[in-house]
């Protein structure tokens, strides 16, 4: 009897696990058609998608069990690199956006030098403090970054020409929306592949039992550094996209605590050890905040984020999506994922 129940439960879970993302994807693809009349809806979802990529990138490190409170360092570095290269040297944003990711990874390498020997809570605290370093440098290196003046008038994303077809990315909200959606889907595929690769398996083994992982020959430090670099690389790319989308940068804006906290909140609420969880949380929580809580409580609407993360860590440490997909975690023994 019980066996049957769990079997049917599992079947339902399996269906939910497939149906929900597919339905979500269809809705996201069609959103501009529904939202044609309301630019605000479209903008909120563009931003939600951008935050989803941020949460996905954060989770590359998060899956190894580490919590970073310093991803704004990578976000800001990526945004500034791409912005300065395209603004001062006139390089196309297509080239500068990946370079933003590269510099972010470089900064991650420095961070890794100091912080990677740390574990758990101490790693989190060190990353929290680390953000100040690139922030203060950006703020004071007037000759290179224009310091506190900020950057105005960044080039937007150039239009994409495919034969006779002309796709305007920065000119219209719809264009920006599909650009971010496209980037999000690419990142999702990459993260999925990554999690199923040896690296992903190793990271999850480290999370479960670091000593045991080391004992069976996993080079813990190497894999943690690799995941930090990859996570920073994609966070930098997201930061660079953000810069070209809003076309304005200021050190306080891109290095703010906001961009460190938001991906952690989404990842933990959605499910740190799942692939989709962080992105789903971003796509649900940010619109809920903007459409429901902000009109109700203009001052103090972000209490929502505080409340959900407290509830999540107390009652659902594996996150909402993680809870739904329970029993589909990686198992080291069988080597299967989800």
């Amino acid at each position: 009897m019980r066996k049957k129940e769990t079997a049917s439960q599992k079947a339902i879970q399996q269906q939910v696990a497939w149906a929900a993302p597919v339905l979500g994807l269809v809705l996201l693809l069609l959103l501009p058609v529904f939202a044609r009349y309301n630019d605000y809806v479209l903008q909120v979802f563009t931003h939600a998608l951008l935050l989803a990529t941020l949460a996905l990138a954060w989770n590359i490190l998060g899956v190894s069990g580490s919590i970073s409170l310093g991803h704004a360092a990578f976000f800001g570095a990526g945004a500034y690199t791409s912005a300065l290269l395209s603004l001062d040297l006139g390089v196309s944003p297509w080239a500068t956006i990946p370079l933003g990711g590269v510099l972010a990874a470089g900064i991650a390498a420095i961070m890794g030098l100091f912080c990677l020997r740390l574990r758990g809570a101490y790693f989190a605290l060190a990353t929290l403090a680390f953000v100040e370093i690139p922030k203060v440098i950006t703020d004071n290196w007037d000759g290179l970054t224009r310091g506190s003046l900020g950057l105005v008038g960044l080039p937007g994303l150039p239009s994409l020409r495919l034969g006779s077809y002309h796709f305007d990315m920065s000119g219209s909200l719809v264009g920006s929306y599909y650009f971010v959606l496209g980037y999000g889907l690419v990142l999702l595929v990459l993260v999925t592949l990554l999690f199923r690769s040896n690296l992903g398996l190793a990271l999850q083994a480290i999370r479960e039992e670091e000593v045991a992982a080391e004992a069976i020959g996993i080079q813990v430090q190497k894999y943690r550094l690799l995941s930090l670099l990859l996570s920073a690389f994609f966070t930098g790319i997201t930061g660079a996209c953000y810069g070209h989308l809003i076309r304005y940068l200021e050190p306080g804006l891109v290095y703010g605590l906001h961009f460190s906290a938001i991906p952690m909140i989404f990842a933990i609420c959605g499910g740190r050890f799942t692939i989709l969880g962080p992105a789903l949380a971003a796509l649900v929580l940010y619109p809920v905040d903007q459409f429901i809580f902000h009109p109700l409580l203009p001052a103090g609407h972000e209490f929502l984020y505080g409340a959900v993360i407290i509830l999540a860590i107390l009652f659902m440490p594996s996150g909402v999506w993680g809870q739904l997909r329970k029993g589909h975690f990686v198992s080291i023994k069988t080597g299967s994922i989800e």
Binding site: G171, I246, R247
Partner: protein, 402 residues
Amino acid sequence: MLCCKRFPIIACLLLLAFWCYSTFAVAATIKIGEINPLTGRLAKQGSEIHQGVAVAVAEVNDRGGLNGRQVELISRDDQSQPDVAISRAEELCGWKKVVALTGGYNDSLVGPISEVAKKYEVPYVASASLQKQLTQRENPYFFRVANLHGFVQPLCGILSESLRPQRLALLHTATPGSTEFARDLRSCLQSRGIAVMLMEKFRPGTPDFTPLIAKLASMNMDVIVSSGFFADHLLLVRQLKENRVSPKAYIGPFGIAYESFVREMGENAEYLYSTFAWNPGISNPGTEVASKDFVERFRSMFHREPNTTNMHGYTSTRAVLAAMQNVLHQKKPLTGPNIRQSLAELDLVLPMERVAFDKHGDPHHYQHLVVQIQKGKFEVVYPPERSTASAIYPMPRWSQRK
């Protein structure tokens, strides 16, 4: 059950009614848009701009509108965030089809809005925007009633003509407007032979200035210019007093010339210098009546005294309305290019300034007045032709005050 079955029909009827209402009833009005930071870190200033805008719109509607058509103001909140500002501008220009935009506080929000305005060819007259970069980019649809020049010129004037300090310290916060102000002021002063001995940057909301004050004291500064904001002045001046450091003058261009500052600071506000473009009772010569009308209308609408920030919102909106009026007088349709043309040719005398724009959209005549707080009142001390009192310089040392 019945109600459930009928619900869709009722809903459809309601929607239809709403659609009819929104299409026909309001069709006769002229829609202008306004985007301000009404929530978030700039909420206070944004709300003040919004009040000024609302006064200008109420005024024109009470006079019977523009050529008999009422003006409808569509206000939006950008939450002090650039990305929200963009979406609000897209909404107003793309969906609501406003004919012109106004409002806006802070370059980080005005900049993104001006880009959207350019795309839709909707003229945008910003209320409070300072940085040079914004008007240096070819944007024929962007105008503003304020700029940094209006702050730098009078301060450079009073420092080089009457105060002539030997040792000048220039402090500024790590924000774009404040930083650019400090650089411009320094280069202006240097061109007139006054050296800036110390230029320091601090973060807004710094909790303690004591070490910085020790540095200022050791260098024996005559004059301190701090382009911080409201709270930075509150703390810096208080700590100057606590540490018994008495400069001959303390000048804070932003955030001092407000009643609320004097109330909060009490007697310590005495003798501080600041600037404003307008204040109740102090207006552009020849506009005293208009200025008084504004003050009265503002009081009846919001039950308090207006300040210079309110006036910026009012002035930018008046410029937009006047340009639209001119277009209608010429019997031309109210399109973006027509209003833009009219704005470029505008010459309008208002309480805050004579509004006329140069080819970049910057104001020709925006000029702040240097004021000193004397007996709790703002007395104009520069330029000489508009001064209401003579400057008390050097200000009394802290130890000599009761």
